[in-house]
Subunit: 405 residues, 2 copies
């Protein structure tokens, strides 16, 4: 009969921590993350907390090094009060974007600023242990370069090129990742570094990274990755929208009119990926006598002015636009970002997307809608992996545990 | 450079209240809303708060009547401690679902239980003042019948049959509501009753009501109303998903293959509403020589066994399924509820929807997906309007203000 208010599950589903010894400190830190120094009185005024409570919480945050004294405020008579501010360098985040054949690792501070970075050609199909051992070795290397220790790590964020069960950090039947199915990534990496290990698929972290770095003020963003395959990361109210089973954003297998009759690797026909992915365009060009094997071959052809390649990219943009036009009516985003390797081939893909969306969607849904190319490019994923850790590791509940530990 | 964690805006955007005099009481109440009695010690243990803080907050909630003593816990030696529980009858909610030609008003307690209810034929096109005056008169009547006063009202929730700017409670260019465009509904109704006045469109509150009453455990629900027009309410993590401009769920004007060439009232061709709405089916049947003017005529024909009507409903279900199949891949809901007057015509519409979704969507997105008819029927809206008020009015921040007032 009596129902509690709708529970808002944490965007990151890891087991809840025990009751903290310093409750409420995290709420103060959330306020201080804007970087502005504040006095104890100002903190009491903004939060409505008792002065004694604020003092206790400030002391806990100071002891953990998460905030520090930031000077003195103007005196109103008597000794001027001390101000306190967030110390982004107190902890570091290890972030990795593991692609099909390339990997990137970065060390960031708690403001998402990159302190050190490393990239390499690395085939994810080598299996979880060699790839994650590489990640751990590069992570230690970056910590060394930045003069930090494993104990300074707030958490580790990892993006993988396949479906991931975010709540457990395990890949689920990933088509291009032999040996990874069900592998306990957080368990393996978590033995090496302090803090939680969070895992997500590559397009979700690219969406987070692009949102954090370029469009933080946008409440609703869709990031579309057009490469060998096609996927979408959805940001809603600042967090990743995952859906009931974590399968949200799987746009590559939505039917498009132009796809009729084209067989798709999923077993259906007419899917978006069957006509508009890098693999599909390469196959189509080859059929026309223009040699292309991969998405990057298509990009090279377009850059060298191949009319067939440019026409194919434009049509792929239209097909992607068909799917996005429906999503614009349903989800009402304020910005759509087109990324992935095919987006590197100039504006032909983007032009096709825009053409169809503005023709098909309702005026109310498009009047303030922006459709743009990715600005972060190949760095979107690694930044997003860091943001994933920051969102979770600096949540009030986690900070309460951190300062009491 | 430094970015705060992603802000999760309140699902209800009304101006923030001043800093409360009893901070934290609302968080305790949120815990107690499950109905289970707890001692002060239990509350301190669960929240990690100091015993003195819990005592102070419990006293504030007791003084406001929101909780009451609920007996004694088993003694562990000495005097047995008192337990406290939520008192759902402490306040009431006035909820209204104003349709195109019918209106329903209900008084509920704070657990969403209906205490008194009233319905009437009422043309929303009569304009805001006569319609809202009727609502106020019926509201007073219901309060009278339940032995309550205007001051007991926690808040008022209103559903309108057109687009609403939820943050201001005003209708925006509503096609079937002459005189309502921009009218200050909260201002007009708020003069009469205590508490905030919240307004939303009918399909969003139907989605909330169906979710609250029948599918509270589902994190992601889509409610599709198929009547004269077609619209969708999206529930995500327990709240209404609105999108950037509040236009999310506008599925009636998404293109469908079967719609090609059919002109729509929006000015485009090929929209879902142009082939699958009650109005479109009635026109199609009339064209076939089977007289039908409204969605309800179609329902009557189907119930009397008209083969043409049944075939049309099945095809409408397939067309709706085309749009939903794409949304299932993109949004990954766990349940889709089909409601509205056309859903009353038996399972033909639902069968068409299921046929296409299960054929088109990906296995991961459909393995636990349920597609069902509305169980709440005509009461979904009024229950949802009450839930909208409860979600907002019993949020920790609002309760803090309530108990300090």
């Amino acid at each position: 009969m009596i129902s509690p208010g709708p529970a808002r599950p944490s965007p990151v589903r890891v087991p809840p921590a025990a009751a903290p010894a310093a409750p409420g400190a995290g709420t103060l830190l959330r306020l201080l993350r804007d970087g502005r120094p504040r006095t104890r009185s100002e903190l009491a005024g903004v939060t409505g907390l008792a002065r004694s409570t604020v003092t206790q919480r400030v002391d806990a945050l100071l002891a953990a090094g998460l905030i520090g004294p930031a000077g003195e405020a103007a005196s109103t008579g008597g000794r001027p009060p001390t101000t306190f501010a967030f110390v982004p360098s107190a902890r570091v985040v290890l972030a990795a974007d593991l692609g099909a054949t390339k990997a990137r690792v970065a060390l960031t501070d708690m403001a998402g600023q990159v302190l050190a970075e490393s990239r390499a050609d690395l085939d994810v199909a080598r299996g979880p242990e060699p790839v994650l051992d590489w990640l751990v070795a590069r992570g230690d290397d970056l910590l060394d370069r930045a003069g930090r220790r494993r104990a300074d790590v707030l958490g580790v964020g990892i993006g993988l090129p396949g479906p991931v069960e975010h709540s457990t950090g395990r890949a689920v039947n990933p088509p291009i990742m032999p040996g990874w199915d069900g592998f306990d990534v957080p368990g393996y990496v978590g033995e090496r570094f302090a803090g939680p290990v969070l895992v997500d698929n590559d397009v979700n972290i690219m969406a987070l990274g692009e949102h954090f770095a370029c469009w933080a003020e946008a409440s609703h963003l869709m990031f579309v990755k057009v490469a060998t395959g096609i996927g979408c990361g959805i940001i809603s109210d600042g967090g990743v929208y995952r859906g009931a089973k974590g399968a949200a954003g799987d746009m590559g297998h939505i039917q498009v009119p132009h796809g009729a009759g084209h067989p798709c690797r999923c077993g259906n026909t007419g899917c978006l990926e069957a006509v508009a992915s890098g693999a599909a365009i390469a196959a189509e060009l080859t059929g026309q006598g223009v040699e292309a094997r991969t998405a990057l071959d298509v990009v090279d052809l377009a850059r060298s002015g191949s009319v067939a390649a440019l026409q194919s990219l434009r049509q792929a943009g239209r097909d992607i636009g068909e799917v996005l036009a429906a999503s614009v009516n349903m989800l009402n985003p304020s910005i759509i970002v087109i990324g992935g390797s095919l987006a590197l081939a100039g504006d032909h893909l983007l032009a096709g997307v825009r053409e169809v969306i503005y023709q098909r969607s309702l005026p109310l849904a498009t009047e303030d809608l922006r459709i743009v190319s990715s600005r972060m490019g190949e760095r979107a994923g690694v930044i997003g992996a860091a943001v994933m850790v920051l969102d979770y590791g600096l949540s009030p509940e986690r900070v309460d545990v951190l300062v009491s530990g």
